[in-house]
Symmetry: C2
């Protein structure tokens, strides 16, 4: 095979895909066509005609659950792949327990964990749920997303304790880079394209990581408007509010102490950590592969990558005692909440 030493190994891997929208469905098809061993598919939505402007689903599947429609298409394409379908919302308490159990036991060999979780969801709660499960179970996962206006997307590889988890910092999104663009509304033209490209990046990264070729992407963004592709690694936040993230960070530090070669960040880079000005999150953008990417990642964080929003629960711990805000009795709490959400 030249580039991949042992391609047949792909049959040994099991991957959970959460969300079968424009990104998740195409990713599942790419991995199926590559001959992945097993896919666990999670979604609680049904196919509708409004999905036809993305790839994968077909009009005759309208009304079917997305997991059933996907399994039907995928098993016809490659009958050798094993599928497990879960038509439920992972965010409810009951389902979360089952979700944890499936991730822990859904490996190619029954009773072993899945090799990777892919988050292809379109909302914050589901991403936080995947984050919680993967931190708790210490399973590597990849986050993906397409902006609401459908002209940018990103993928991010989260290794609990080693790279920033979804709660370490506000989510990173790619700025369009074109100031005059009106941001309201969806760019219907870019729905199948931006989502297909993001799915391609995600599946490619899965293959690069599992089959050990090329350089695994830790963060890869895409702006359709300007052909802009930021890359970087974001390190975990030592004061992350996720308990399991803290535990994974501690485990990783101990592991690196025993074997410094395991450190994602080389020693010379650690001496001068690259810190963003006014860095209230303590986020460090560090080198993934070579010098080019440090510079590129850094520039992008300031000029091309934005935080999606500032979360009130994470801003709170940053307020020092003497800076505490005094709220009068006449303050409208709903109005304050609205303002926070608008940030």
């Amino acid at each position: 095979m030249g580039i991949v030493k042992n391609y047949e190994k792909i049959r040994d891997f099991s991957i959970a895909i959460v969300g079968l929208g424009g990104v998740g469905s195409v990713t599942s098809e790419m991995l199926t066509r590559c001959g992945i061993g097993k896919l666990l598919l999670f979604d609680f939505d049904t196919v509708s005609l409004a999905n036809m402007n993305r790839l994968f689903f077909t009009p005759d599947q309208a009304g079917m659950s997305k997991v059933d429609a996907s399994q039907s298409t995928l098993s016809k394409i490659n009958p050798d792949v094993t599928f497990e379908c879960y038509n439920y919302n992972i965010c409810t308490v009951d389902n979360f327990d089952d979700f944890l159990s499936r991730l822990s036991n859904g490996g190619k060999t029954q009773g072993t964990p899945v090799d990777l979780v892919l988050s292809c969801v379109d909302n914050f709660d589901a991403r936080m749920t995947v984050n919680q499960a993967c931190n708790e179970l210490n399973i590597k996962w990849m986050e993906s997303g397409v902006s609401e206006d459908a002209v940018s997307g990103h993928i991010q590889f989260i290794i609990p304790g080693q790279t920033a988890c979804y709660q370490c910092a506000p989510p990173l999104v790619v700025a369009s880079g074109v100031k005059q663009v009106k941001r309201e509304g969806v760019c219907a033209a870019s729905l199948p394209t931006t989502m297909g490209i993001t799915a391609g990046f995600l599946a490619q990264n899965v293959l690069k990581y599992l089959l050990d070729f090329g350089t695994t992407s830790y963060y890869l963004g895409y702006s359709a408007m300007t052909d802009f592709f930021p890359t970087m690694i974001v390190r975990p936040n030592p004061s992350c509010t996720n308990k399991y993230c803290q535990i994974r960070q501690q485990e990783y530090l101990e592991k690196v102490e025993r074997d410094p070669s395991l450190n994602l960040v080389k020693e010379e880079e650690k001496e001068e950590p690259v810190v963003h000005e006014e860095n209230e999150w303590g986020i460090e953008v560090v080198c993934s592969v070579d010098e080019e990417e440090i510079v590129s990642g850094l520039q992008e964080l300031t000029t091309g990558v934005d935080y999606a929003f500032m979360r009130s629960d994470e801003i709170k711990p940053q307020i020092a005692q003497d800076e505490k805000v005094v709220v009068g009795d006449d303050t409208d709490l709903d109005e304050l909440r609205r303002q926070l959400e608008g940030l």
Copy 2:
């Protein structure tokens, strides 16, 4: 729609797609789902089970012609799109005449030319044929390609007379950027991903150009191994051996003379053309959008973008009289040819 002023306009456009392999088929699906007015599909191959490691075709279509299989899938997805299918090789003399006639008359309004031609073929002869037809008919086209090892791809927008045609210079390909990689063999893992990403770039660029949003890409490369995305514009070669390219260049120069605002290259850039050292092709990499991209394009031409090969018929005119090579009677012509091909 915010980003796109008049999305409904997409129904007015007609596009010819030549080659329905891993890139062309996915591009046709993306454009169909976006609601393109009309697609003219050209291919003379049949679907085989060996195609299942790319997206789009399904095992039950094995044995069907690619154009028929595509039309069947696409018209079910969006019955509003008009299809014209041509199951022939555009490179033979008879078919070439029909190909020219369809490009000239296949517009949404019968008798008008198509709005764009997309080359999604996998061989040099077919690309030269598309180039010849588009130079002759003065139709804009986009070239696309995925490397033989399937870990890099590119798209290129060719506007006859304004940007380099396929004969102006040897084809540009993205170097893998990873020296230790063995280049022999196909990376089966990357077939659906690299081809899907390249198709996404191609369809996105079609939409950006036709619907006038964002910055149209003139050359956009992709290296999966290193997440490397070179961009640039390549200007036409004034001594291009293609007669119609010369005519289009002349027409363009005259047009710019009458209205300098039409020039792709701004005046200040023209004063200091950016020329590659040892530039035997006289190729200039010029700014597409902003300063960043000039630098980026330039770096990539030297470090990340290679010429696919050097063509003997184009090297010839560059040899000055006093540098003429004297070939002895005992020189083995076949050996010389082999050496040239090996360059």
